[in-house]
Structure formats: C-alpha cells, structure tokens
Symmetry: C2
Subunit: 282 residues, 2 copies
C-alpha cells in the first residue's frame, strides 16, 4: 500500500515457475515430473488423485530426484456437511491429506473449504473454521501448514463458502496459528475491489503461503473447466503479482489451469505454451 509502483516486472526465467499436476491432467505424476524437469520447470504442486495407490514417500523422492521443488499438496477441505457423520468423514480425510503431505515432503495442504447446499452460508463458514481448528494439532505435529484458498463466488453453492480474500484473512487471523495461512489464486480473486489491501493484509500477517496464476476467458463457457492460459483473458496478472511481491512473497508462481480445451491438446505443446505465457504475460 505504498506509493511506489506495484506492477511487477516481467519474469525472465523459470526459477519460480511451478506447475500443478492437474494442469497437465492427462499425464501421470511420473510423466509430469519428467516432462516438467526436462522443460526447466522448477516446482510441482501435486494433486492427491495422482498419488492413488502409490508409495507417497518414494514418489516424493522421485520428484526431488528430478530436481523439482515440492510446492504444495492439493487438496484438503470440503468441511461443511448437513450431518455430523459427513463433517467427521471430512476431518478424517483431511487428516489423511496432512499425512500425505508430510510423506510427500510438501510444506502445506491447500484447502478448498467446501459448502453444503441446504444450510445457510454462515453455518458452512462456521463448520469450515471448526474443521480447520480440529486439524491444527495434527498439522503442527506433522509440520504441515494449511492454506485456506478463497474460491470465486460462483462456487459458493457447493465448493467453498470462503469467497473473498477478506474472509480468508479473517479466518486465518481468528485461528491464529503458525500452521494456518492463505492461498491467493488470481482466478478466484481478480475482480475484488479490495484485493490490493487484502493481499497487503495477508502478507503483513505472514499468511501468504501460495500464489496461483492462470487467466479468465471471455466468454467463459464452463464454470469449472474453462480457465485460460496466462494472457488469454482479462486478469491483470502483473498488477496482482506486483501486490503479492510487495508483501515480500518470494515463493513460486503456480500455474493451475483446469481446461477441457487445453487438456484435449498435446500436453508437450501446452507446457511450452505455459513457459511462453509465463514470460510474456505473467
């Protein structure tokens, strides 16, 4: 919130480029790791579906052997449920996610917090806070942080009742633990008129754990799987990255793109386009 210009300078190398496994969804984690490393990508965020049936500790070692930094594990969350049994099952699943992150070597688990159709948003929000609070002793014991990711308001029905960075900041402040922070994703937050001040607040609190990038396409034809590659849409990525870096954040720029269109194409070509877009538009 200084008077200094906060638009970031263009990125000139891939030292802070991380790609989410979901971004190149057709690839197994082994293929993703190999191709990311060959392409010069330095970080990987692992989605839990890619770990099914695998020895997670060995998988983590494989990623390190490829020279990749393990940036985070996606995802825990989905705390709200109408019934207590559902809420308990969610907490149990989040306990497994924390264990998996520890075995993999990921410093934090990203939380898509959830929402339950059929109960007030305020109740879902309370269940999210209570769910995270219940996990804190285990998170601390495992040395794994929990990153609350506010999701776009178009997901408030059933994916997340945390829909602004202000809310996520409020919740992280209230939980007041060194094992709770926030993940900032431009897709979810770019529209928010309070974004600059909330990024500043998040950073000042020491809560800014992750920064996710992609773009918003016009028109967007699918609410979930029509994200754009950086530069394909209207998000002012350098402005937002400037605000993030002004807080002192020096972590990875994580490319997280869900796109039926881009998943349908050649993934090697897509990865090259990600690198190009990273330098030109991010």
């Amino acid at each position: 919130m200084s008077d200094a210009p906060t638009t970031a300078a263009p990125l000139t190398d891939f030292s802070r480029l991380c790609v989410h496994t979901i971004t190149t969804k057709p690839w197994t984690i082994e293929k993703a790791a190999q191709h990311f490393a060959q392409a010069g990508v330095k970080g990987i965020t692992v989605w839990r579906d890619t770990l099914a049936g695998k020895n997670i500790r060995q998988t983590g070692q494989m990623l390190l052997d490829e020279g990749l930094s393990i940036v985070s594990l996606c995802r825990g969350g989905f705390f709200p449920h109408l019934k207590e049994t559902g809420r308990q099952a969610a907490i149990d699943d989040n306990r497994r996610a924390i264990d998996e992150a520890a075995e993999l070597g990921a410093p934090h688990v990203v939380l898509v917090c959830g929402a339950a159709v059929g109960q007030p948003l305020a109740e879902s929000r309370k269940q999210i806070r209570d769910g995270i609070a219940a996990l804190l002793p285990q998170a601390e014991a495992a040395g794994v942080k929990l990153a609350i990711e506010p999701l776009h308001p178009m997901y408030a029905d059933n994916r997340s009742a945390v829909n602004t960075l202000g809310q996520a900041n409020d919740m992280a402040e209230e939980l007041n633990s060194p094992f709770v922070g926030v993940a900032v994703d431009v897709y979810h937050l770019w529209w928010d008129p309070t974004l600059e001040q909330e990024i500043y607040r998040c950073g000042k609190n020491g809560h800014l754990l992750a920064f996710h990038i992609c773009d918003w396409r016009t028109p967007t034809v699918d609410l979930l799987n029509d994200r754009g590659l950086m530069g394909e849409g209207c998000i002012d990525l350098r402005q937002i990255r400037g605000w993030v870096e002004a807080t002192g954040f020096s972590g990875f720029n994580e490319v997280e793109i869900f796109s039926n269109r881009l998943w349908a194409g050649d993934q090697h070509e897509f990865l090259e386009n990600i690198k190009k877009a990273y330098l030109e538009h991010s």
Copy 2:
C-alpha cells in the same frame, strides 16, 4: 442490524409480485401484459428490447390499462469502453433509456454498468461513475432515477465492474443525488458475507430502489442463462428478503429469470410455477 429475527414471513398474496418481461422472453410485451394481468401479477418490469418500434407512451398506457404497475425499465449502463467514442455512444444510449422510461412511466432505469476487457477494472469503475454523473441532469429533468445494479463477480470481465453491494453503495454515496440508487438482485449478491450490513446501509441511505429474485442452481451450466426459479437452488430468499424489508423497503419483489431451459417450455405453465414458487419459496 437489530437483534430481532430478520427472516421474512412467507408471502401470502401477489400484491407485490412483479415479473420482468425477460422472464417470459418468448412473449411480446402485449402478451406478457395480458397474461401477467390475467394471472394476478401486479407489476411489470419492461426490458427495452420489447419496446423496439413501438409507441412507448401508448405502450405504457396499455400496461396501466391492464392494471399493472410499471416497476422499472431494464436496462441502461455499459459505460466503460476503451475509446472515447464508445463511452460517448454509451452515454447517448443511456439518455435514450431515460427518455424511454419517462415516456413509459417507469420510475427508474436499472443500470448494468459494464466493463471493458483490455483496461484495468479500476478504470472501468471510474468510467462508470463518470458516465452516471454525466446523466444526472437529464435524469433529474425527466424525474427518472438510475439504479446501479451490482453484478455477480463472474460478470466482471465484460458485463459489470461493479460486483458487490458495497461498491454500489460507495458509488451511490459518492454521486450523492436523489436520482441515483441501487438495485439488489439476490442472484448477484447472495454469496457476499457482508450482504446484511450492506443492505442495511443501502436502505439507511434511501438508496434501495429495487429487489430482484430468482435462484442459483447446482450445477449452473451456463454463466448467463441458467438461473433458477425460486426454490430450485440454494439462495436463502427469505433471509435476504427479511434484510431488505427490515430497511423499510415495501416495493415489488421482481422475478427476473434468464433461463434457456425455462424459456423453452410453455410460458403459461411457467407463470403458474412462478406464482407457486413465489408463495412457497420467496
């Protein structure tokens, strides 16, 4: 913001039921007026497309002759453009909308404020404020108010850079004119954790000009034209109507539904379903 319960009591009659012409899009304005009146609907909000090529004064008289209250004219707005010529064309079009509202006998024009891909949101927001300010003398002369409608953040790319009620309230306060107010639409605002306090603020300012209802479906398959009938989705309509009525608002509950699915069906049946849903779920 009192401690009294603010959830509204069920509606028991149609004295405050208004339907937008876009809701029954397949009908001409003459058919809509006739069928609304026959069904006991008391108010109509007119979309400008239904007036094309018509004598607007005579059309307004026709609506009154059917016993309908003319609740508002939809819509003006779309102020932001990259070029000055585009911004001027938008202002000219809004001047026509004000004239049309005066001829029709509508007390206000609803503004879908617009947004321009290719310029910062902050610039679009400034152009919106400047555009409305430029219209104020004419609005005052015509006795027609302008209602800023905040739109859901999923429309921030090209439909509106005003995406929260807080923003609309800020803008209305800044413009500080008896001819500027706000339209509250549950579809756009239901997710907002600050909604109760912003409705209270809007009402206290005397800015709450209109209240639009429908529902949010899960899943939503189209960003624009997949709204639900009241009760088909997750919006807590009585809670929000309670907040609105707690401000002293006693205007119409306007049913505004864009739905390819519902437009494809029999519109008489749809209108009966609207009446049923109005009593049971609104």
